[in-house]
């Protein structure tokens, strides 16, 4: 990788990690959600560096354009939001920091020390057609199984989030104590 590309890579990595840290530490969840947007966008940029152009586009389409909006909606929807202080207070900071550092140590040591078999002579090629071909041939079963998963998720999402008075019906069992 040449110089400027390297620089852009580190900028993207910093954007991703920095925003992720902000998501974890910002006390206001709306700010945290916006920080998450930059983290997602940074990940999309990293995908580009991995020659995964389709994945990068999907990342923007699904995560930035979908999941994030959903998270913001969830914040706006929170019941009686003006009564409660919108915050996610941090607890057990030291223990958590220690644990995270240990995990970071293990993961980064593994990533750095392991000799992963590399594919040489990689050129940046559009991947969408290749993915499409694999989905239609080798990975057909996961592709079709995904549709059943999406069907269940679709029905479940509609069922659970639908506003209705159900659950207070007469046939409902009392809360067991």
């Amino acid at each position: 990788m040449t110089g400027p590309a390297n620089l852009i890579f580190y900028a993207l990595a910093a954007l991703t990690v920095g925003s992720a840290v902000l998501v974890a530490v910002l006390p206001n969840i709306v700010y945290a959600a916006v920080a998450l947007l930059f983290s997602f966008a940074g990940v999309a940029g990293l995908y580009v560096f991995l020659s995964a152009d389709f994945l990068a586009a999907t990342q923007v389409l699904v995560y930035v354009g979908g999941i994030l909006i959903l998270i913001l909606f969830a914040v706006f929807l929170s019941n009686r939001i003006s009564d409660v202080k919108i915050s996610n207070p941090a607890r057990f900071q030291w223990q958590a920091a220690l644990l995270c550092l240990a995990l970071f140590g293990v993961l980064s040591t593994t990533a750095v020390r392991t000799v992963f078999p590399l594919k040489h002579g990689l050129t940046y090629q559009p991947t969408t057609a290749e993915i499409g071909e694999l989905l239609m041939t080798r990975y057909l079963l996961p592709f079709e199984a995904a549709s059943v998963l999406l069907l269940a998720a679709l029905i479940g999402a509609a069922l659970l989030s639908r506003p209705d008075g159900k659950g207070k019906g007469s046939a409902d069992m009392e809360e067991p104590k």
Binding site: V106, L107, T109, T110, R113, T114, V115, F116, P117, K119, T137, R138, Y139, L140, L141, P142, A145, A146, V148, L149, L151, A152, A153, I155, G156, L159, L160, K166, G167, K168, G169, S170, A171, D172, M173, E174, E175, P176, K177
Partner: protein, 492 residues
């Protein structure tokens, strides 16, 4: 040579039956008017029954790789298909009779239930990590929905919430492990990954991957320390779903655990007829400790429970610990013991939960203290529950005893004495809390002496569960033989 996509369809009939039933359920719901009709339940029964039949008819002898190597069709997969389908049928019967679910829209419930079943079919047969991950999600996501199905009941919503958070974390960690394996080997086929790892020499990433994958599978079988979700989920979810989660996904979790670890991190030693660890990572010790901790935590915490569902949740954690004993031995006999135990466990655990449902329908309570005098209020249910509880304890002449004999015999046979001692001590502890319920039912005076009627239909379902529980305690040979045959084909 794996079969192609269209050639595989003929060997894929159970899965197709379940998928068709799911679609039919949607169609029936869309076309129908009455949301509480029994049609979805009956339709699901027919569909799962057909799937069970088709799975049983599949030739167990020929191990085949289907769909370009995505799933395997071998005795092991067929065994688990039949097991999970049977569990689903019983759970459908339980759901039809559950007071918690009455008055709620039915079709969605069965759509989720059958989606989980389809996921379990695929999960137990997966031989590719892409397929494996997707089918694990197909098991998990509808399970979350089912746990939170009692919309408006706080404990149910809490159960779903906790389940989602834990489940998402566990599967995230697991897929990180998968990515390490893919990075090391450059393939998604678990057989090829296993072969590549056997020749490679990189203990650190392999160990890390093994641990991370264990998180995902351990979450599914509710092994300590990945069990935190289960008591709350089991308590809050509708009782038929609690029963289902404690048997179906747990069995599927064991299936995928065995298939994955025995293919990726171990290789068959054909001469000795056992498996041997192929990498330098001694994961059997890890799982031995996990097994001991799981059964001990499950049993010791169960002692103090006052809610029956919570107690059974901890007991089911303990049983996962027992079954893990068979997993660490790397022998066909150890696997056979797991499979046999799962069959026995299916009947006794579903039976115990069914009685809980029947009692809750009458008393609207799940507290152990409200079971006082059940022996006189509902003798049939009380006697059945006593049978199931004694079987869960593992006392002769009940089937749980035979299941434990198989496990203990193989553990001792392989010389893992410390594990056998821990398990034996645990069985003693479990006797205490199981017997406590029996004591409350038969020896304590009822708070409310009105009779609890148990209609004919639940009675017959209870008989269907109690008879195998008793019968397998005296005549277990055929089931043990099926279990032994189902093990032979795996990975060899």
């Amino acid at each position: 040579m794996p079969l192609g996509n269209f050639a595989s369809l003929i060997h894929f009939l159970p899965e197709l039956a379940v998928t068709a039933t799911i679609l039919l359920l949607v169609v029936v719901h869309v076309a129908g008017k009455n949301r509480q009709s029994a049609a979805p339940a009956l339709l699901s029964l027919a569909g799962v029954g057909a799937a069970l039949l088709l799975a049983a008819l599949q030739p167990a002898s020929a191990g085949r790789s289907l769909f370009e190597g995505m799933v395997a069709l071998d005795g092991f997969a067929i065994f688990f298909k039949a097991l999970t389908a049977l569990a689903t049928i019983v759970v459908i019967f339980m759901s039809m009779d559950s007071g918690e679910l009455a008055g709620r829209s039915q079709a969605e419930y069965y759509i989720f239930l059958l989606s989980v079943l389809l996921g379990m079919f695929l999960l137990t047969a997966s031989t590719d990590i892409v397929m494996l991950y997707l089918s694990l999600e197909l098991v998990s996501i509808p399970s979350y929905l089912l746990a939170g199905y009692l919309k408006g009941r706080e404990s149910s919503t809490e159960a779903a919430m906790k389940y989602v958070v834990y489940g998402a974390t566990a599967s995230g960690v697991m897929i990180y492990g998968f990515s390490l394996l893919y990075g090391l080997t450059g393939t998604t086929q678990i057989g090829e990954i296993g072969r590549a790892l056997a020749t490679g020499d990189a203990p650190l990433p392999v160990l890390l991957a093994a641990v991370m994958v264990t998180v995902g599978f351990g979450f599914k079988i509710a092994a300590v320390p990945f069990h935190m979700w289960s008591p709350d989920v089991y308590e809050g979810a509708p009782t038929p779903i609690t029963a289902f989660l404690s048997v179906g996904p747990k069995a599927a979790g064991f299936a995928v655990l065995v298939r994955f670890f025995y293919t990726v991190f171990a290789s068959p030693d054909v001469a000795a007829g056992v498996w041997k660890i192929s990498s330098r990572v001694d994961w059997t010790l890890l799982f031995g400790v996990l097994s001991a901790v799981t059964m001990s935590v499950g049993n010791l915490v169960a002692v103090n429970q006052t809610n029956v569902k919570r107690l059974l949740a901890y007991s089911s954690i303990a049983h996962a610990g027992y079954m893990l004993m068979g997993f660490v031995l790397l022998t066909p006999a150890g696997l056979q013991a797991i499979l046999f135990y799962l069959v026995v466990y299916l009947f006794m655990n579903l039976g115990a939960f069914y009685v809980v449902i029947l009692v809750a329908n009458g008393t609207r309570s799940e507290n152990i203290s409200d079971y006082s005098g059940l022996g006189s209020r509902a003798p049939f249910a009380a006697v059945s529950l006593a049978i199931f509880l004694f079987a869960l304890t593992g006392i002769p002449p009940f089937s749980g005893f035979i299941g434990k004999v198989y496990l203990f015999a193989e553990v001792i046979n392989r010389g893992v004495y410390w594990l056998a001692v821990v398990a034996a001590l645990n069985s003693v502890v479990s006797l205490y809390y199981y017997a406590r319920i029996v004591k409350v039912m038969f020896l304590e005076d009822p708070k409310d002496s009105t009779e609890l009627p148990v209609p004919l239909f639940p009675r017959s379902v209870l008989c269907f569960l109690a008879i195998p529980t008793l019968l397998l305690g005296v005549y277990w040979e055929p089931v043990a033989r099926v279990a032994a045959n189902s093990v032979k084909l795996l990975a060899f």
